[in-house]
C-alpha cells in the first residue's frame, strides 16, 4: 500500500503542495477559477514551520483509525482493500469528533461547508497531485515500510 512521506529537509515551505491539493479537489481544476468556487476547495495538506524546518502534514490513514471509531455518523469507514479511510459526505453531520481525536491534527475542519477535509491521496488519479507538484520533490509516494518489530 502506498502512502505519502515527506523529506522535510527538502521542504522549502513554498506551499505548492497546498495549492495543488486544493486545485486537484476543486470543481474547475483551474487556479483562478477555483478561488471563486462557492464550495471553496481548501488544501487537505498543510505545511508548518517547526524547529527551523518545514513540515507538511497530511492524513496518515493510520492503522488505529481513531477517527473511524469516533465517527458517530458512520461517515468514515475503512476501505479493506486499500487501507484508506473513506469519507461519505452525505452521511457526515460535521460534528468534528474526527478532528477531536486525530493525533496528527491532519483533519481540517472546513467550517463553511461543515465538512472535515482530509487527504484522499487523490484516489481517482494515478498519483496524488502534491507529489507531482512539489518543486523540490520533497513528497514521496511510496510503499509503506514494513512495521518495525
Amino acid at each position: 500500500m502506498k502512502n505519502l512521506y515527506y523529506v522535510f529537509k527538502k521542504c522549502v515551505g513554498c506551499k505548492t503542495c497546498e495549492l495543488s491539493c486544493a486545485l486537484a479537489h476543486s470543481q474547475s481544476g483551474e487556479l483562478s477559477e477555483a478561488l471563486k468556487e462557492i464550495k471553496l476547495s481548501l488544501p487537505r495538506t498543510t505545511v508548518f514551520a517547526a524547529t527551523g524546518e518545514n513540515y507538511p502534514v497530511s492524513c496518515r490513514h493510520c492503522k488505529e483509525q481513531k477517527c473511524v471509531s469516533a465517527c458517530m455518523a458512520k461517515a468514515l469507514t475503512r476501505d479493506a482493500a486499500t487501507g484508506m479511510v473513506l469519507h461519505d459526505e452525505n452521511r457526515c453531520v460535521g460534528c468534528w469528533m474526527c478532528v477531536m481525536v486525530c493525533p496528527y491534527a491532519a483533519i481540517r475542519p472546513n467550517r463553511k461547508i461543515k465538512l472535515p477535509l482530509r487527504c484522499d491521496r487523490c484516489k481517482d488519479k494515478d498519483q496524488p497531485a502534491c507529489v507531482k507538484a512539489c518543486p523540490t520533490r520533497a513528497i514521496l509516494w511510496e510503499e509503506e515500510p514494513e512495521p518495525k518489530k
Partner: protein
C-alpha cells in the same frame, strides 16, 4: 497570552499584550500567519518578471534549474537584487526631488511657509555645483541651484557632481570600473530595463549596474535631500529629546508625524507651538499640544527641532493602540497599510497627505508646499477637535522613554572636535591612528519582527563601543539604541571601552552619534570623505577602518543604502540574509569577488555578537594595512 520573546523593549511588550487582549492584530501576528515564508522567495530564486513564468529554481538541484526563458538561479537572483536596489534608490531619489521642488517654491516666493535657513551651507553647496555665488541674492541662488539639481535628475551622461566630494582615488575606482552614475533618474530606469526578460543575463554585469544605481542614490538623491533639508529647515546641532512610547501624554493633544519627508513634518512642528493653536487645545480641555514622531520623519524634526520620538517602525501600530493618539499624519515609506483599521478601533484619525501614498480608511488631505502652513494648521486643528473624543478608559501609555542626544552632522563633528575657531577632523583621525578608537561603524536600518526586534541593534552597538569602535547611527536602528539609553554622553562611561571613553569625555559626546533619518546615511559618506581628506588613515574610502551594518533590515531602501556603501568601499553586514542564497555564484560575488572591485563587500550574520566580531576583524584588517598603532587598550 504567551510569553514569546519577541523584543526586549518593555513598552513594546506591554502594548503588544494590550493588542492581544483587545484582539488587535499587529505585525507580529501577521508575521506568524505568513510562516513558513516561501523558500523560493527566501532564497531569491523565483522570478515573476514575465509571463513565461512565474518560474523558480529547485534549490536541491533535482527539479528545474532554469526558468522558462532559460535564466538560471544566478540571473534570477541578481535581477531580483537589482530591482530591489532600483526601488530603494527610487525612494530616496524621489524624496530628494521633493525637497528640490520645495527649495524652488520657497526661493521663488511661492511657498511662503518655507525659507532658506542656512545661507552659508547654500552658498557652499551651490559652489560645489559650479554656480556663481558672489553678490547673489540668497533666493536667486537657491532658485538657480534648484534648477541645476533638477537637471542632474534628467542628466544622461557625465558624472554626478557630488561624487567630487569623494577622494580622488575613490573617483578613479568608480571611473575605471564604469560605476560612475551618469544621472539620477537614468540609473534607476536602466536598472529596470536591464531586468526585463532577455536583457542583461550576466549576474556580474547586473550587479555592476546595481552598484551604479545605488551610487546615484547615495551620492545623488540622498545626499541632495540631506543637504537641501539642512539649507531649508536648518542644519541640525546636538540637542536632547526623548524616545519611546512614553513620550505620549495623557493630558495633551497627541499628534504623531510618521513617514519620511520633512517638508510637512517641519510645518507641523512649527505650527504645533503656535500660541493660538495651543489655546484652542486648552479650550478643548487639553493642557497643550504634544508632537511626537515615528520612523524617519520623526528623526528629521528630532534633529532640527528636538521633537521626541514615539517609536520606530515596529511601534507605529502600538502607538495607535495606546488610545492616546488624537491624530497621526503620514506621508510615505514604511507606513503600514494596517494603520487606518487599527485607528478605527479608537478615536484616532489617520491623515494621509502624499499623492504617491494613499491609505484606504484614512482622511486624505493632499499636501502642497504653497499652502504648507495653512494645511499644517488645519491638520493640527483637526487633531485638537478630536481630543475630546478620546476614551480615557482605553488610554494606556507605557511609561518607558529615554533621553537621547540627536542632531549630529558631518559639519558639526568638525566643530565638536575642534571648536568654532579651529574646527577639524584631526582629533578623530588622531584617535584612530593612536589606537584610542579602533574605527567607525555605521549601524543603521530598519527593525524587523523576524529578529528579536531592537535587540540586535542594542547588542551589536554595545559590543562595538565596548571594543572602542565609535558608532554612528541613523533611522530606526538609532531609535532602537536611543530607547536603550545608548545615545547620551553618559553611556560612554557605562558601555564604552577605555579609549573611546577618553575621547567621549574629552569632547563631551556620546559614544553613539545620531546622524538623523535614513536618508542622512549620506552624512556617513561625507564624514568618511572628511576622514580621508584629514589624512593618515587611507587614500580612498575602502582603506578607512570603517564598516557598516543593517542588522534588522527589511526595506528595499536598506538594500540600496547597503549597496551604495559597498560600492563606496565599505563592508556592510546584514542581519537577515538577503534572498540570494539560492545562487551560489551571486552569493560568492557579493560576499567575496566584489571586494576586488570596490574594496567593499556584503556579509550576512544574524547574531549580533558574531556581527560585531566580523566588523572588528574587518576594521583590524584595515588598521593593519594602514600600519596604524596597536590598540591602546586592547
Amino acid at each position: 497570552m504567551s510569553k514569546r520573546i519577541f523584543t526586549g523593549d518593555l513598552a513594546t511588550k506591554e502594548m503588544r499584550a494590550i493588542a492581544e487582549d483587545s484582539s488587535i492584530q499587529t505585525i507580529w501576528d501577521r508575521k506568524l500567519k505568513q510562516e513558513p515564508h516561501c523558500g523560493f522567495g527566501t532564497l531569491g530564486i523565483c522570478c515573476k518578471n514575465c509571463n513565461l513564468g512565474p518560474c523558480r529554481i529547485d534549490p536541491f538541484g533535482e527539479g528545474a534549474q532554469c526558468g522558462v526563458c532559460g535564466a538560471d538561479a544566478d540571473v534570477i537572483a541578481a535581477r531580483n537584487l537589482l530591482r530591489h536596489i532600483a526601488a530603494g534608490s527610487a525612494c530616496h531619489n524621489d524624496h530628494g526631488r521633493e525637497i528640490i521642488k520645495t527649495l524652488l517654491l520657497a526661493s521663488t516666493g511661492k511657498a511662503p511657509g518655507y525659507k532658506i535657513n542656512d545661507a552659508v551651507k547654500l552658498e557652499r553647496f551651490a559652489k560645489e555645483y559650479g554656480l556663481e555665488t558672489s553678490g547673489k541674492d540668497v533666493n536667486k541662488l537657491a532658485e538657480e541651484l534648484a534648477e541645476r539639481l533638477f537637471k542632474e535628475y534628467g542628466q544622461q551622461s557625465g558624472e554626478l557632481m557630488l561624487t567630487n566630494r569623494a577622494p580622488k582615488k575613490q573617483i578613479d575606482i568608480w571611473r575605471v570600473n564604469n560605476l560612475m552614475p551618469r544621472g539620477i533618474d537614468r540609473e534607476v530606469t536602466e536598472a529596470l530595463a536591464r531586468t526585463n526578460i532577455g536583457v542583461d543575463n550576466d549576474y556580474r554585469s547586473i550587479m555592476m549596474q546595481g552598484m551604479r544605481t545605488a551610487l546615484s542614490d547615495g551620492w545623488g538623491g540622498s545626499m541632495i535631500a540631506t543637504d537641501l533639508s539642512d539649507i531649508l529647515f536648518g542644519s541640525p546641532e546636538p540637542l536632547r529629546a526623548k524616545a519611546n512610547l512614553g513620550v505620549l501624554k495623557d493630558d495633551q493633544v497627541n499628534i504623531i508625524v510618521h513617514g519620511h519627508v520633512p517638508i510637512l513634518s517641519d510645518a507641523i512642528a512649527t505650527a504645533s507651538v503656535d500660541p493660538a493653536l495651543i489655546q484652542l487645545a486648552k479650550d478643548k480641555g487639553a493642557s497643550g499640544i504634544n508632537l511626537a514622531g515615528i520612523c524617519c520623519t520623526a528623526l528629521e524634526v528630532l534633529s532640527r527641532k528636538g521633537v521626541s520620538v514615539a517609536g520606530n517602525f515596529l511601534q507605529q501600530e502600538l502607538a495607535l493602540i495606546t488610545g492616546a493618539v488624537d491624530l497621526m499624519i503620514v506621508d510615505l515609506q514604511c507606513v503600514m497599510p494596517s494603520l487606518p483599521s487599527i485607528a478605527s478601533c479608537f478615536h484616532t484619525k489617520v491623515v494621509s497627505t502624499n499623492p504617491r501614498a494613499h491609505f484606504p480608511g484614512s482622511v486624505y488631505i493632499e499636501f502642497h508646499e504653497e499652502k504648507g502652513m495653512e494645511i499644517a494648521r488645519n491638520i493640527i486643528t483637526m487633531a485638537i477637535e478630536n481630543f475630546p473624543k478620546r476614551d480615557k478608559s482605553r488610554v494606556h501609555i507605557p511609561k518607558e522613554s529615554r533621553d537621547l542626544v540627536g542632531g549630529f552632522t558631518t559639519e558639526y563633528i568638525f566643530k565638536m572636535l575642534g571648536g568654532n575657531y579651529r574646527s577639524t577632523f584631526s582629533p578623530l583621525n588622531e584617535a584612530i591612528i593612536s589606537g584610542r578608537i579602533r574605527g567607525v561603524a555605521g549601524v543603521v536600518g530598519c527593525d524587523n519582527p523576524k529578529l528579536k526586534s531592537g535587540e540586535t541593534h542594542i547588542t551589536l552597538v554595545k559590543e562595538l563601543i565596548r571594543k572602542d569602535v565609535l558608532v554612528v547611527q541613523t533611522g530606526c536602528a538609532a531609535t532602537a539604541c536611543a530607547k536603550e539609553g545608548l545615545l547620551v554622553p553618559e553611556a560612554a562611561f557605562k558601555y564604552a571601552g577605555k579609549g573611546l571613553q577618553e575621547i567621549c569625555a574629552a569632547v563631551g559626546c556620546p559614544p553613539v552619534l545620531h546622524l538623523g533619518p535614513c536618508v542622512d546615511n549620506s552624512r556617513i559618506l561625507t564624514a568618511c570623505c572628511e576622514m580621508v581628506k584629514e589624512g593618515g588613515i587611507g587614500k580612498s574610502l575602502d582603506e578607512l577602518p570603517v564598516a557598516g551594518a543593517a542588522p534588522e533590515w527589511m526595506s528595499e531602501k536598506a538594500i540600496a543604502i547597503g549597496w551604495y556603501f559597498v560600492a563606496s568601499g565599505a563592508m556592510v553586514v546584514f542581519g537577515n540574509p538577503y534572498p540570494l542564497h539560492g545562487s551560489h555564484n551571486l552569493t560568492k560575488f557579493v560576499t567575496e569577488e566584489v571586494e576586488s572591485v570596490t574594496g567593499g563587500k556584503w556579509a550576512f550574520e544574524p547574531d549580533p555578537i558574531q556581527m560585531a566580531k566580523i566588523i572588528i576583524e574587518h576594521i583590524d584588517k584595515k588598521r593593519q594595512a594602514l600600519k596604524l598603532k596597536p590598540m591602546m587598550y586592547p
